[in-house]
């Protein structure tokens, strides 16, 4: 059974944001006048709300505005605009305070990665060497589940590569900027470590 206080408490959000009708408001006021606990609730709610309200508006970083406008211009010119995170990251680096150096770092990383990718299309493995799938032995549910596991794995792998690329570059520039001794042994892509 809902007590009176619970009922009032449920109305506090709207009470505080002035969304209650006059009658409801009067009901709450009347209860508050008599109930210390609910007054305390109200005070706490007001305080939290005030805390959130006082959170400062953070300035949008300058480079971001520039990136956005650049993307808009690219779009107007019929060029593809960066939607995916990885490409947005490249845009970000190219207009970062590190300017061309940052972009060169990205290009270098891409080149290094390209160097280890196969240069020609691989031949398909000999599928006949794998046992013929007898689909009555593997249920549809199992295949479905396996499919998702596969997709997850591929997505995960791709994401690690994507994020690592960006982070390793960021690490390098952070080290350069702060000149900390390398007890971080963050390493750029490529090479044997």
């Amino acid at each position: 059974m809902m007590t009176r206080c619970t009922h009032i408490e449920n109305m506090l959000t709207e009470y505080l944001s002035d969304e209650l009708g006059p009658l409801e408001r009067a009901i709450v006021d009347e209860h508050l006048a008599e109930c210390l606990a609910c007054r305390a609730e109200l005070a706490a709610a007001r305080e939290i709300g005030g805390g959130v309200a006082a959170m400062p508006t953070v300035n949008c970083p300058d480079h971001l505005s520039r990136d956005i406008l650049a993307a808009v211009d690219a779009d107007s010119a019929g060029r593809p605009w960066p939607k995916q995170r990885s490409r947005a990251g490249l845009w970000r680096r190219s207009s970062s305070p590190w300017g061309w150096a940052g972009l060169a770092g990205t290009v270098a990383a891409a080149v290094l990665l390209a160097m280890v990718l196969p240069r020609r299309a691989p031949e398909s493995p000999d599928v006949a060497a794998l046992p013929a799938a007898d689909s009555t032995r593997v249920t549809t549910v199992e295949v479905e589940r396996a499919r998702r596991e596969l997709l997850w794995t591929l997505a995960y792998t791709a994401s690690v590569i994507d994020r690592s690329e960006k982070r390793s570059i960021a690490d390098v520039w952070r080290r350069v900027r702060t000149r900390t001794p390398a007890n971080h042994s963050a390493t750029i892509i490529g090479g044997q470590g």
């Binding site: 959000t13 805390g51 309200a53 953070v58 971001l64 808009v72």
Partner: protein
Amino acid sequence: MKRTFFQQVLREHRDRVFSHALYSLRDRDDAEDVTQEVFLRYWRTDPDVPDDRIGAWLTRVVHNLCIDHTRRRKTIRAYFGRPDPDAMERLVASAPDHQSDSLSSEVMAAMEALSPETRSIVLMHYEQGLKLREIADLLDANVNSLKVRIHRARKTLREVLTNPGQPRLAARGEGG
């Protein structure tokens, strides 16, 4: 849409949009990505809204994109790129109206305990001053479920603020 008009909209709303994304996602890189996406969508969609409703349109998009973004991260589970609270705090500390006083900093930290979606709704209601009904319209949501969500969020924040040693993970049944 004319570029000059877009620039004006960008100038007027970028800080608010960025802040919203930053406080919801609690990660600087993610907030930048989402902010960029929000304005690019505005550019591409060129929605037919009156000037005084552009802010609301942007708010809805930033809210939805924050949720999408979170879902995507969770799915990939590449927590390798997890939220960097230091980066966020540094950014906030550099904000023009930043006060190093305690309450809003504590509340900001306590919001870690809420889900990104709830954070976003809490921001809309308390920071941007949107009424429940307005939020409900914007998000196509139910006023009552919003009320419950905000109520629970306040309770969670309060619990975290009064028990600072015990971080509370975002509860499952946190509200609609």
